[in-house]
Subunit: 356 residues, 2 copies
């Protein structure tokens, strides 16, 4: 049986669950490698993947005999057979954040389950710790992201629009080995950079603009996430101080990120430094990265959580001055026992792109 | 009060619901114009949109006084105030296909509701009938799609890859007034065209290829959907017969599409014609188009449903010969009392693109 399913079966034993229905497609991909629409049933005797005719071929080609997962189509079973899947199971786990109310009702009826038990995101929590293959894929996604950034420094000129730059990011990722973007790129120039979640507009890049570029790609399903704030032609004096403060905090956080670090303390450290200088940290300091662009753990001042070896998180302090400008600097890093390893490696010193 | 919310309140009266919680963001956009993350509460006295600080400004700028919707942040209310929203409401509607099991539990607890009642997609069903503004937006999305197709006929050459063509479609849409694509474009050349849901690959276009291009964009939230199958350099003889048969059925369906037409009958007509010639219709004949690319009604042989004036649907018969080639021709059309109006208007006769 594959290691992740073995882990899940152990966990279920601890939770007194004799069966489980896994619905979240990301969790199914994590546990089995399968990329399709369907359900994973963990029953007393077997691991069963239920899907429809469109996916059977792909799913079978993904699995090996070592996975010990049997593939069936939904239509393979009679009403009676469905009711037998969880026979003699007192508690059957399900994912209350992924199953709709109607889906839940349907489970109850179809499988005739006595007690469906919410699984409280046990798989999402397990996904925080990455194995070597996962780390390799995230590293690859980060490498492509760094290459894209280098390419952009040539591409960006006065007169290009934010939308054109965002499209170039998507194009570069798809043509350089990535599955695609891990989220819609943010390209925010001039005043627009003051909005942390700016959407690219038709605004043209101008001399003296700061540009915040927040982008990431997926490689074999695994995400990268990086932000750089760059300058066009020259560095406006008032931006310099803010840039220096953000970078100082980003580097200090980098120093502290390691197994045993508490994310609440880290976030409060940055918050404190910003406040001392008259600014605020208006979003979280970072988040986990993996099969999803935002996943556990969340680095915020409300989360009393301690980092562990082999977690992958972002480190992304930012300062936003309404209607003027914003600066954010972000890396994706791997937590280890002795410190963190930067997976995105693009330059964080002042970067000035030529005006033409 | 805006017309859509007035309609919903009437409908709720008929369903004996004194309140409702609307969660599906597409339904909220349909009812209010709001594009954000939040909940619409229809209470005895008021219509309340609940959101968080990130969206308050945008939401308030979307609404007018005539909408009669009050905007609040989730944090504005105390536990007691939440419990008072649905006081004296016997039945409160909710969307069982959009609320997760955990969300449902949360509703029960937070609002102290006696009886939460599943709404059985009443809003989705109402969305089938489009008003003039909606038709205008879909028409605009279809116009941009037609323009993109004309552009592609110049762009496509022997040696271009499927991925490059798909990227060009996305680029064209974004630079020509669309919000973006309404779904990932399908560009399937040669053998790949035999898969109805092919994903663009690095395969280069070759002389003698058929290319199936299935694409659509969004304009102010509303979708378009069009497929054309074109030829590179010349038309292979064996493809011609299949093309003619698909086109004949697409045009016959076009003739029949009007208020009063039964979609089961229409689908069986095409199925019959394909079978007579030794082929099969392996997917549905079409689907509704609006704020979502696939919505009610579904044109399939299992759906005994009669079309009405002002519905917008696709007409997309296709034939797929495994490992050889496929042909699909699709338009988005508006149903009227006397017939249908084609909203996508690109040429459906043989189209041969130059090899270079």
């Amino acid at each position: 049986m594959n290691a992740n399913i073995k882990w899940l079966r152990e966990k279920m034993k601890m939770l007194d669950m004799q069966g489980a229905i896994i619905s979240n497609p990301i969790n199914i991909r994590y546990l089995t490698g399968i990329i399709a629409e369907g359900l994973l049933l963990i029953t007393r005797k077997e691991n069963i993947y239920l899907t429809d005719g469109r996916y059977t071929e792909t799913v079978n080609s993904t699995l090996t005999i070592d996975d010990e997962i049997i593939v069936h189509e939904f239509s393979d079973f009679s009403i009676d057979e469905y009711e037998n899947f969880f026979l003699f199971c007192e508690n059957v786990g399900f994912e209350g954040d992924y199953v709709t109310y109607n889906g839940y009702k349907d489970f109850m009826q179809r499988y005739k389950i006595n007690s469906l038990q919410e699984m409280e995101r046990v798989i999402e929590k397990q996904r925080m710790i990455k194995d070597i293959e996962e780390i390799d894929k995230i590293t690859k996604a980060c490498e492509i992201t760094d290459k894209c950034f280098t390419h952009l420094l040539d591409f960006i000129k006065v007169g290009k629009t934010e939308k054109e730059i965002a499209l170039e990011i998507e194009r570069f990722f798809k043509l350089n080995g990535a599955d695609g973007v891990s989220f819609d790129p943010i390209v925010a120039s001039g005043k627009n950079s003051s909005k942390p979640h700016a959407v690219p507009t038709d605004k043209k890049v101008e001399l003296g603009d700061v540009i915040t570029i927040d982008m990431g790609c997926k490689y074999q399903g695994y995400c990268s996430d990086m932000t750089r704030t760059i300058f066009v032609g020259y560095i406006p004096e008032q931006v310099k101080d803010v840039y220096d403060l953000v970078l100082k905090n980003q580097l200090q956080t980098e120093e502290e990120l390691k197994e045993g670090a508490n994310v609440k303390t880290l976030t409060k450290m940055v918050q404190g430094s910003f406040e001392l200088n008259g600014y605020n940290l208006i979003h979280s300091l970072g988040h986990g990265v993996g099969l999803e662009i935002h996943e556990y753990p969340y680095l915020s001042s409300k989360n009393d959580f301690t980092l562990k070896d082999k977690m992958v998180v972002t480190n992304e302090p930012g300062i936003y001055i309404p209607d003027r400008f914003g600066v954010r600097i972000e890396d994706t890093v791997l937590i280890t026992k002795n410190g963190c390893i930067k997976l995105t490696k693009s330059d964080k010193n002042y970067i000035i792109v030529d005006e033409q």
